[in-house]
Symmetry: C2
Subunit: 234 residues, 2 copies
């Protein structure tokens, strides 16, 4: 926990073809911390589109980011290109070295992995991609939020909200996180019990796995290449 | 439920000083429906900032919107100005008249109320603002999602995700909504039990009510003026 008077720099990596709520869910939480600056950093100053077309505009390009206290890395299919983008990986590594918390959401964990940040760590990601984590030297954990040292990994998509509340509590204490949770009226009541592959109807899980097969094949190839660069036997 | 082959026009009202997750939460769900177009309509084509500074860009101005099947009205402090903006209220009324579903999130219900859409309906909104609903002729209900005819009201902020999953099921059936829920890994695990004024620590609720007092006083005046225009005794 950090004294309430100490300002915080919170920055999210914004990129083309991300899944927007990996970004906007945590933003909703973290932007409400006192004395915190919460900004989006992009590969260029131009707006990007999320995987479903939502337009988001960076506050500044990567190279203009100050040293961040919290480095937030969202996911979505655009993560794959970034796993081979040395400018991005180098920025992530440099920021992570000075950050208090590295917070990945969904397949943002794969970007962190490609940057070498998951080596020897317990980690999680979207349920479809969890089997890739060993390529980065991580131990996959089937949990909604996994915390290991300065690394906080949220599972798929909406897990970013739960993860961000934990990050908020790490930074400013439980009462500050609870005040944000109350404001957000975050007392969820999912109308169906289909939010995990353990609870969803079997045919819906099979359909989702089928739909993700091509993407997973590409992600696996990219993860193998990253493993080779990182010197991890796979 | 609407045949899967029938295209859907889903449109959200985008305005300055909204609370972004009232918009982006439902977008995450509804943009994943098959044969659906999900767009943001703004008072002008210019980008706006949410109450915490997140920049969002309209896809088109209000007057260019087609007749929508789903009219989605988010909330946030900017809602107050819209409650007296006749161009917006008239657009909301006209769209609502032809829409299959009017879906309010958080204090978006107050905009719908000022447009006359809540008369004689059961409704809900952010917990701090629920007491204002009778000014619009509505019966306030303390529930996360309230459905009354074509009107779906979600309570505060993150309730929009639960509401959107219900809207998805109304439009395309439960299996379609469950597939989206699985993709979003929406099996929430809030780390604290502070998401409603019933469960949050008493001092945190008192603090939140104190912080909202000025806004509530202004909202109450605006609601009274709307009641007068709507011919509702208050």
């Amino acid at each position: 926990m950090i004294p309430a008077s100490q300002p915080l720099q919170i920055g999210s990596l914004l990129f083309e073809d991300l899944d927007q709520i990996d970004l906007t869910g945590p933003f909703e939480v973290l932007s409400r911390l006192d004395h915190a600056t919460t900004k989006f950093y992009g590969l260029s100053p131009a707006p990007v589109r999320d995987m479903k077309g939502l337009r988001l505009t960076p506050d500044a390009p990567l190279k203009e980011a100050p040293q961040l206290d919290v480095l937030h890395v969202p996911g979505g299919p655009g993560q794959e290109a970034l796993m081979e983008n040395q400018e991005v990986l180098s920025w992530v590594r440099t920021q992570a070295a000075g950050a208090k918390i590295v917070f990945s959401v969904c397949t943002g964990a794969l970007i962190c992995g490609a940057a070498g940040l998951l080596k020897g760590r317990r980690a999680t990601t979207h349920w479809t991609a969890r089997s890739l984590l060993p390529y980065f030297g991580a131990t996959p954990v089937d949990a909604r939020v996994v915390m290991d040292g300065p690394l906080v990994c949220a599972a798929g998509v909406t897990a970013g909200i739960d993860g961000a509340l934990r990050v908020a509590a790490m930074l400013r204490g439980q009462a500050a996180a609870e005040a944000i949770q109350l404001y957000m009226q975050y007392a969820p009541e999912p109308p169906f019990d289909a939010g995990s592959p353990m609870s969803a109807p079997r045919e819906i899980v099979a359909q989702a796995e089928g739909a993700a097969a091509d993407l997973m094949a590409r992600r696996t190839e990219t993860a193998k290449k990253a493993a080779k660069r990182l010197g991890i036997a796979s």
